[in-house]
């Protein structure tokens, strides 16, 4: 049982100054990793997983009350002390927290790295975040009689800033749920924060580390560990990787570890070698890109899996092309498969021609084939298309929760709802024991002569 008391002093790195007291009497504050720490000594009193799952609690039954800013929630918490989503049936929650649902409006909060890693047109986010909801309004459709209002915050590709943004959206903007569009570290940090305050978190498919035990967390496309075998399958089946030299370049953030391990294991199982495996700092720039490009070229690596930011990918591809080295690039979705990346990386040297990336949504070029309403509604690029697709998933998830919308009801209903089909994203299906809902991906290919990506294969779950 957790109780929230008055706010107290704050140590560096502490992101939540609200004092939290465990049933065992330990009092602390939430740090940037979502852990409960002693504000004076910095000692970890309870990990984020323990907080989220309730395993830190010692008493049976009782009431869990969480209050942050104006939002409040109360749920009968005896059974919630089990770690993670349980496989067994549990009764539908009656009542609950409906913060963010007012009159005919549901307020949701989205965070993404507009700056810091993936330099993308901010106006696309500005327009794209509302596009689907405006389309619903204009075509007299609604979410059980309500419309959705979106609050958007830039997290600057920084977990601390992401948590600050999410906290602000929860406490000040009083959003019903949070959405993480891109950025693994930021998504992990925000999801853990959201778990600590009982807010549902709908996420891009990224890492699984520290997230699978969070009951509020829903990934709406395949995670990196799920994409790993798919990418290995692509390399072996379609790109001839078995008889070629393969390598991986990744940022050395711990949240990429499972994505890395899954791919390496899948490659080995498929009989393909991983001849180059390089971790590089998240703050790496052109100098590091040049060194890595030189290593890749001198070692003759033909297929390169890149798990880095789009900016670093562009730098790597450009510096490699300057050395007349153009390997086959592949990677997980979604940011490196954006047209804005092709537009830059292709221009001078066609450095990423035929690069292939998995993506949760098809290329913008092909969008009419998948959802003609998107362009009719005013969609003009792939960022908007991605936001359109994710909005369609979220709309269905909100509908699933019914008219009496509460955070608890949202989680409960979507654990039991049928498959979500949007025509843009691959099918999404959750259960009470599995909140990783992705089932397939799209395969995008860089079409450098036209400075864009095209959809090579849609809704693919194997090659």
């Amino acid at each position: 049982m957790l109780m929230v008391a008055a706010a107290c002093g704050q140590k560096p790195g502490v992101v939540d100054s609200t004092a939290v007291t465990t049933a065992s009497g330990e009092e602390g504050v939430i740090d940037s990793s979502g852990n409960l720490i002693d504000p004076e000594t910095g000692e970890v009193l309870a990990t984020a997983e323990e907080l989220a799952s309730g395993s830190e609690t010692t008493g049976g039954g009782g009431t869990t009350t969480t209050t942050t800013g104006g939002g409040s929630s109360t749920d009968d918490g005896g059974s919630d002390t089990a770690a993670g989503p349980s496989g067994g049936e549990e009764p539908a929650p009656s009542g609950g927290d409906s913060t963010g649902v007012e009159g005919d409006t549901i307020k949701i909060g989205i965070h993404a790295p507009i700056t810091g890693a993936a330099p993308v047109p901010s106006q696309s986010f500005d327009k794209g975040k509302d596009l689907y909801w405006e389309y619903l309004r204009n075509s007299n459709q609604s979410i059980n009689g309500r419309n959705v209002e979106v609050v958007f915050r830039n997290d600057n590709y920084n977990p601390s800033q992401a948590v600050a943004a999410c906290r602000e959206m929860v406490e000040d903007e009083k959003v019903f749920l949070l959405v993480g569009i891109a950025g693994t570290d930021q998504i992990q940090a925000c999801a853990r924060y959201a778990a600590s305050v009982g807010v549902p978190y709908v996420s891009a498919g990224v890492t699984e580390i520290g997230l699978t035990t969070l009951r509020n967390y829903f990934a709406i496309w395949m995670t990196y560990p799920q994409q790993g075998p798919l990418l290995a399958d692509l390399l072996v089946t379609k790109l001839g990787a078995k008889n070629e030299k393969n390598g991986m370049v990744r940022f050395n953030t711990p949240t990429f570890t499972d994505g890395h391990d899954a791919w390496v294991s899948a490659m080995e199982e498929a009989g393909a070698s991983v001849d180059y495996d390089r971790a590089v700092s998240k703050t790496a720039g052109t100098s590091e890109a040049q060194t890595i490009a030189t290593e890749l070229r001198t070692q003759g690596i033909e297929n390169v899996h890149v798990l880095v930011s789009p900016t670093f990918f562009i730098q790597l591809a450009q510096t490699a092309a300057n050395q007349q080295y153009k390997p086959q690039y592949v990677g997980y979705g979604l940011t490196k498969g954006l047209d804005t990346v092709a537009n830059v990386a292709c221009k001078n040297s066609q450095s990423i021609q035929n690069a292939r990336f998995l993506s949760p949504f098809p290329a913008f070029f092909d969008s009419n084939r998948f959802d003609p309403d998107f362009r009719k509604a005013g969609g003009t690029d792939d960022i908007m298309f991605g936001l359109w697709g994710s909005s369609k998933v979220i709309a269905t998830m909100l509908k699933n929760a019914g008219k009496d919308l509460t955070r608890e009801g949202f989680i409960y209903a979507n654990e039991r709802a049928s498959t979500i089909k949007t025509g843009v994203f691959p099918d999404v299906k959750f259960s009470s024991s599995d909140h990783l809902g992705g089932s397939a991906m799209h395969l995008l290919r860089a079409d450098c002569p036209n400075n864009r990506f095209v959809t090579e294969q849609a809704f693919v779950s194997d090659f």
């Binding site: 507009i114 700056t115 330099p119 993308v120 047109p121 901010s122 106006q123 050395n252 495996d277 390089r278 971790a279 590089v280 700092s281 720039g285 052109t286 100098s287 590091e288 890109a289 040049q290 060194t291 890595i292 030189t294 290593e295 001198t298 070692q299 900016t311 562009i314 730098q315 591809a317 450009q318 510096t319 092309a321 300057n322 050395q323 007349q324 804005t340 990346v341 537009n343 830059v344 990386a345 221009k347 001078n348 040297s349 450095s351």
Partner: protein, 332 residues
């Protein structure tokens, strides 16, 4: 004399490194070469930093953004269909103008203020310039072509190959420009009246004024020169990066350049050159070593994440502990 000795030691060390690495499969030689090339760009920015420090005793945090703005001006000029050389002139002239405005509007009013105030003002100026870049150019990456393309229309390389490392013409130009500017500036500060007047101003502004030297004129000269050096670095470096984005020079170059300037000695222009090269080589070879060597079953990069940054830190510490004024530094 000291410059000659330090430069000779550096050349011998590089030579030894190349000799030792000659027989190693996937060895360090291309990375030493690459480090020298990268170091040339660090050195160019470091020259501007040292110039301002010599003249005003201020660390100029806006130095990187002179380069980014020049790159944007070049990009805009090329996009308007103007010839590349016209774009370069526009970029240089525009950045010099910004340097003038910065000096007159921000630095001059603080000419008698504590140096920490001026330092903070340069941080504010850098942030302002980054804000303007985002506002005007937005944050989308842009592609800026080099002066001479890395490959010709037939796909053949235009540069040279050293130790199995193809070196683009742009890098050779950067190295040549660094060597030339380093020499010219060293001569300027030691042999010309204007150069000596700049140094005198930094040592004792009051005495300099008594001698009839206008310290305002010296300040203007220093900041215009620094802007020009920053602009040259931006024009030469950004096309190598693949993506022109706001703050590209500050985020990629400023810290290594600062470190290079400190290693070389903040008051020494040849030191900026030497320090830039040292940082370039240490970074590149450190990164190579992180992937090449193993400790037990694990690669060095897994045992020490960011091994290249740790190596730079160790080199910096070693230099500062043994010679606090830097390799070539001395009181101006």
């Amino acid at each position: 004399m000291r410059t000659t000795i330090v430069s000779a030691v550096l050349v011998v060390l590089l030579g030894l490194g190349l000799l030792v690495g000659a027989g190693v499969e996937n060895g360090p030689n291309p990375f030493i070469t690459l480090g020298v090339m990268n170091g040339a760009v660090f050195g160019l920015v470091a020259l501007g930093l040292v110039l301002v420090y010599k003249g005003t005793r201020v660390f100029n945090f806006a130095q990187g953004e002179f380069g980014t703005i020049a790159a944007y001006l070049l990009f805009l000029s090329i996009n308007r269909g103007w010839p590349y050389w016209v774009g370069i002139l526009v970029a240089l002239a525009g950045t010099v103008l910004i340097g003038l405005v910065l000096e007159r509007g921000v630095i001059r009013p603080l000419i008698n203020a504590p140096r920490i105030n001026v330092l903070v003002a340069t941080i504010a100026a850098a942030l302002f310039m980054i804000g303007m870049e985002i506002l005007i150019a937005r944050i989308e990456p842009r592609s800026l072509s080099p002066i001479i393309a890395a490959v010709d229309s037939s796909g053949n390389p235009n540069g040279v190959t050293v130790f199995n490392l193809p070196i683009e013409p742009q890098r050779l130009i950067a190295l040549g420009v660094l060597l030339s500017l380093g020499g010219v500036l060293a001569w300027f500060f030691s042999k010309t009246d204007l150069g000596l007047a700049v140094l005198a101003t930094s040592q004792d502004a009051f005495a300099t004024r008594v001698m009839g030297i206008g310290i305002e004129r010296m300040s203007r000269f220093i900041w215009v020169s620094a802007a020009l050096l920053g602009a040259i670095a931006g024009i030469l470096y950004v096309p190598l990066t693949g993506a022109l984005t706001p703050a590209v020079m500050t985020s990629n170059i400023l810290i290594p350049a600062f470190t290079g300037a400190v290693i070389g000695g903040m008051t020494s222009l040849p030191g900026a050159f030497v320090g830039g090269i040292v940082i370039g080589v240490v970074q590149s070879v450190g990164l190579w070593a992180g992937g090449h060597f193993t400790i037990g079953e694990k690669a060095l990069q897994e045992v020490i994440p960011g091994v290249e940054q740790v190596t730079i830190l160790l080199v910096l510490l070693a230099v500062l502990l043994s010679r606090p004024q830097g390799l070539l530094g001395k009181e101006a």
